[in-house]
Symmetry: C2
Subunit: 355 residues, 2 copies
Amino acid sequence: MIWRGVIDRYKKYLPVTEATLVVTLHEGNTPLIYSDVLSRLLSAAVYLKYEGMNPTGSFKDRGMTLAVSKALEAHSKMVICASTGNTSASAAAYAAKAGIKSVVLIPKGAVALGKLSQALIHNAQVVSIDGNFDQALQLAKEIAEKWPVTLVNSLNPFRLEGQKTGAFEICDQLDGRAPDFHAIPVGNAGNISAYWKGYKEYFKNKKIYSKPVMLGFQAQGAAPIVKKRIILNPKTVATAIKIGNPASWRMAEEARDESGGLIGAVTDKEILEAYKLLASREGIFVEPASAASVAGILKLGRKRYFQNRRSRKKKIIVCILTGHGLKDPDSALREIKNPQAVPARLDAILAAVKI
Amino acid sequence: MIWRGVIDRYKKYLPVTEATLVVTLHEGNTPLIYSDVLSRLLSAAVYLKYEGMNPTGSFKDRGMTLAVSKALEAHSKMVICASTGNTSASAAAYAAKAGIKSVVLIPKGAVALGKLSQALIHNAQVVSIDGNFDQALQLAKEIAEKWPVTLVNSLNPFRLEGQKTGAFEICDQLDGRAPDFHAIPVGNAGNISAYWKGYKEYFKNKKIYSKPVMLGFQAQGAAPIVKKRIILNPKTVATAIKIGNPASWRMAEEARDESGGLIGAVTDKEILEAYKLLASREGIFVEPASAASVAGILKLGRKRYFQNRRSRKKKIIVCILTGHGLKDPDSALREIKNPQAVPARLDAILAAVKI
């Protein structure tokens, strides 16, 4: 079957009609990769859902295809969003495909290089705000309320509708079952909410016969849900989840509580360790925020969280890797040393490397 | 059907056995996206094969899964390559997944930022050579001949075997037919050779009933095949095809001649125009080299190349977009102006953008 994007594949579950003009870059259908290393470490079957393999390099494309298609259906000529980077890249790309304009508000100095280059090359009008993400979002909302511009942040309900298709895909890829645990980074908290919605819908439609325990992970310095208070100056190397007042706070708590799960915090050190483990052992390059889900299950594993269960059958854990490492090459380059420069001679090379 | 990489999907056509331990990051299965803009401009049906959606962001993964799987089968403990960036990123990632070591020789100052970060984060031993790609390749070959290290440049025959699966996929995605024209950037010339091999095999196996005309495009400043001579100091903004003495020179000429096609040159200006058109009109971000295929068909279109045919039925043109734009964020940032910084106030934003 040819893949033509998440709306085409899952339209039965989405608020579209035959009249919806689908704006797609063939997002979704991302690989679910079995991780030998993590499975061994956790005595479980661990799969990595590599959402970095969406067209703009992050999971945001799943929601953006629907948000922009619906904006077009409503004859909108412009979309706006506030963004730490991934949303803006996606909004700009889908707006370009749709032939409409886009405006992006980014917090000054807080957006990774790759993401900034994306919004700009896709012709968005990008404004850098002297403030944090939460302020940028407030301003985007105000503009969308007062002018004929469609807000495509996750407050736009179509965004989460599109994102829930990630849950459908995982269950389909597991041959009609849900994982036992679903681990996911939590920033603005839309994605954990969307996945939980997806699992519940598939369960209701009898496509699966159990639902996963939802495990969300915030960065220690940007963990409002864990700390139960707004963080005014969130700090973390994981820029994509550097958010102090998540828009989907309540929904994320519901996902946690209804599923019997948890939302925990991981340190930047733990995030970067998981980041390097994925790249050096699994061949998977992610942006730092993505590694929060892996850091989280490794932390729970050390507390024997996954062993404290009755069944001896191996549990299935799915980790969402939200974005591609190429989004943030600077983070990678900070973690490693630059290559040695040598003359173009055999002896010089052999002196520089271990063969 | 769950996608588990190109070896799993096309093993019937590949030199693997049940004993081959497949090293995969679920490469392949990349989208074939219909381009409204190009189809209109060329009065044809133009599809973009977005190879940037492979795990390491380029088409190299198709060949690397096979090259590294076969290296593992031969009990190799290390792979080596020379690279302008994409091959090294792929080699490093697949070696990491396989649990073996990798060595990468790059020409000094000639590798885009994203690609360099990839090789390093995937734990390759990277050496920057004071010389060009062709010298680096010569040295890599020498090392592979004298030490127990597997060369994974496209001289490794398994690389092209893997890459030919791109042709299979296109035909499958077109519901069992080949395109009329296949446009592709030409650097080291392995990819055009691999695609032609793939089309011929599918034709022989009666999976398709015609073969495409192969249209290869080199950058004007790095066009040895067009100019029929080695270019000692190739120059182009398209670093991925900045190669003066292609390893698969003869095979590329065969693909051209057997298919009744051509290999032409496009200027950096034409490449960057196509690059910006793809990003701003199609929502597709590629690295500059990828845009050579689009620049090429636009150039042929201006000469009415596609209209000079007898049939009135619209011709199908497939353009290979070899790598993701995130591989080379600097190229994007050079092409656009930086975002304006404004205070976090509504009036300041409205003064900065057109709504």
